[in-house]
Amino acid sequence: MKRKITNEYFTQAYDDHADAIFRFFYYRVFDRSLAKDLMQDTFTRSWEYLVEGKEIQNIKAFLYRVARNLVVDYSRKKKTLSLDMLQEQGFDPGEDTTDKLRDAIDAQDVIKVINGLDEKYRDVVILRFVDGYKPKEIAKMLEENENVVSVRLHRALKQLRELLDESSYR
């Protein structure tokens, strides 16, 4: 069923998907401010596409397509993650408060594990287990076959378990 796009419809799409798209970027660029900017870009570029009079089949899938294209653009100027960057963002393993230390170790472990996952696996794992999308929805968003997504999820979890075992904090 077709529905006419209005400003209200599009801002509702922002309310529904902004967090998930922010996380999509954060776990690739590991920079909050940059992830926020890229998320904003995703919505403004999508709006520009509509202003040109073009139709969208599925708003969620379209937003992720734009986001993935922005990630490709960004990866050409990729930064490497360092502990300095973590410290700039407020994680300081030098302090002796238990919670901050645990957060710093969690963050290091998480980043190491995320970086260790194949990029195709990272997408499906985050969309499924962090953002809560079903395999059918993920298939549409990534423009893949549903079986391919299911297989990827299976392999992603296997790789994730191996990475988590290797990164165990003692």
């Binding site: 902004a18 926020k36 969208i56 287990f129 979890l157 165990s168």
Partner: protein, 402 residues
């Protein structure tokens, strides 16, 4: 501390926009949209259409047409086995249609449990019919592993929504179904000589591996609850209590309706499971009254699982048909002498002594040790022992002769 996938995803979810950031970007976006307004109408497909794409609509419509044309064929296909003419109708039409009716994560997981059960029943019936072969059994085992993976994903999705009891119940239901099938396969295997048991052992190996994996997941889920928070731990225990109570009642009712068609061996096993469930429930209630919420939670979970296993065993036995005779007891060619005491030693903890002539399986202080007295409950105890052995990576399996 080792991170489980559950806690790892929880950490990932901590990254989110705060309210101020979200509002700030929203305001910029609205300003941008007003500066570049839409000049002509543009359209998007709504959520209903996006769920049911044209392809799915075609599949559903085709299936409906076929169902109307074939009438009872679809129903007949439900009893078909791999290699039968109607098996493709069962797999490619009936099951996808049923999948469409699963609208929640729990319903999807429960349907995957059903599907796994259907594959196992097919394996059992093939073996009984004498039509099993390694290729067919391997294919069914492969399907079972896929179902298991889908169930694990559903469990993870539920736990990420903090529905730990829901997730634990899904795991318990799957485990109960697997254990029920394991018992049936064991009985079927008893009708064969050892050298003929290959197909049975092959599928049992897959089943037991999945049960072992389920135990790991239960342990992870248990760790996700904040037991130090009294309100949360009390709530978890109470929710589990309600769930166990419902399951025990449902299992009892289901068995009562079917028991006239049960063979004596199966009936005895089911009644034993139901009785065990009730005993566990009573113990759990006492723990709840004494505010020992973690213990109460664990015992209610075990009660739920026992009741669910009774129900699964009833269902599996019904699906095989009352005409099929399942021998309960010793293997053909066995001497009839009960096996000696079986003991699992942990190479990490060292050898611990076991009490002789104990009446039931019990754990000592060392969680790696299980001492089993193989008397009247020989088969059930051996099953427990296999699971404990699989669970403990460093254990060795010893048979001590008295």
């Amino acid at each position: 501390m080792k991170q489980s996938p559950h806690s790892f995803f929880k950490t990932l979810r901590k990254q989110a926009l705060d309210n101020q950031e979200r509002a700030q970007v929203r305001a910029h976006l609205i300003q941008f949209m007003e500066s570049k307004p839409l000049t002509s109408p543009v359209f998007v497909y709504t959520h209903f259409s996006s769920l049911f794409t044209l392809r799915m609509q075609q599949v559903a419509l085709t299936a409906l047409v076929i169902l109307i044309a074939l009438g009872g064929t679809s129903y007949a296909a439900e009893r078909s086995l791999p290699g039968d003419l109607l098996y493709q109708v069962k797999i490619k039409i009936n099951e996808p249609l049923i999948s469409l009716t699963a609208l929640s994560t729990k319903a999807e997981a429960q349907w995957e449990i059903e599907r796994a059960g259907r594959r196992l029943t097919e394996a059992e019936r093939l073996i009984i019919r004498g039509d099993a072969n390694p290729v067919a059994i391997a294919a069914l085992s492969g399907q079972l592993e896929k179902n298991s993976e889908n169930i694990k994903q559903g469990v993870m999705a539920l736990s990420l929504r903090n529905d730990f009891v829901g997730a634990a119940n899904v795991v318990s239901n799957f485990e109960a179904s697997l254990r029920a099938h394991n018992r049936i396969l064991q009985r079927i295997g008893d009708n064969f000589k050892e050298e003929e048991e290959t197909d049975v052992n092959s599928i049992r190996s897959t089943v037991l591996t999945e049960v072992f994996s389920g135990s790991d997941t239960q342990s992870d889920l248990h760790d996700q609850i904040s037991w130090e928070n009294e309100a949360e731990s009390k709530s978890a225990a109470e929710v589990n209590r309600a769930s166990a109570d419902t399951t025990i009642k449902n299992a009892g009712t289901y068995y009562e309706k079917a028991k006239n068609k049960m063979d004596a061996g199966t009936a005895s096993e089911i009644e034993s499971q139901l009785s065990k469930a009730q005993q566990l429930f009573t113990r759990a209630n006492k723990k709840l009254d004494s505010q020992d919420y973690p213990q109460a939670y664990g015992l209610f979970q075990q009660a739920h699982r026992s009741a669910q296993e009774a129900k699964s065993l009833t269902k599996v036995r019904k699906s095989l048909g009352s005409k099929i005779n399942l021998t309960f007891g010793t293997k053909s060619g066995a001497t009839g002498t009960p096996p000696a005491t079986l003991k699992v030693n942990s190479t990490v903890e060292g050898t611990l002594s076991a009490p002789k002539n104990s009446d039931s399986a019990q754990k000592k202080g060392n969680p790696h040790e299980v001492t089993v007295d193989a008397q009247a409950n020989a088969e059930a105890n051996i099953e427990v022992d296999e699971l404990e052995y699989l669970r403990c990576k460093t254990c060795t399996f010893e048979l001590l002769n008295e």
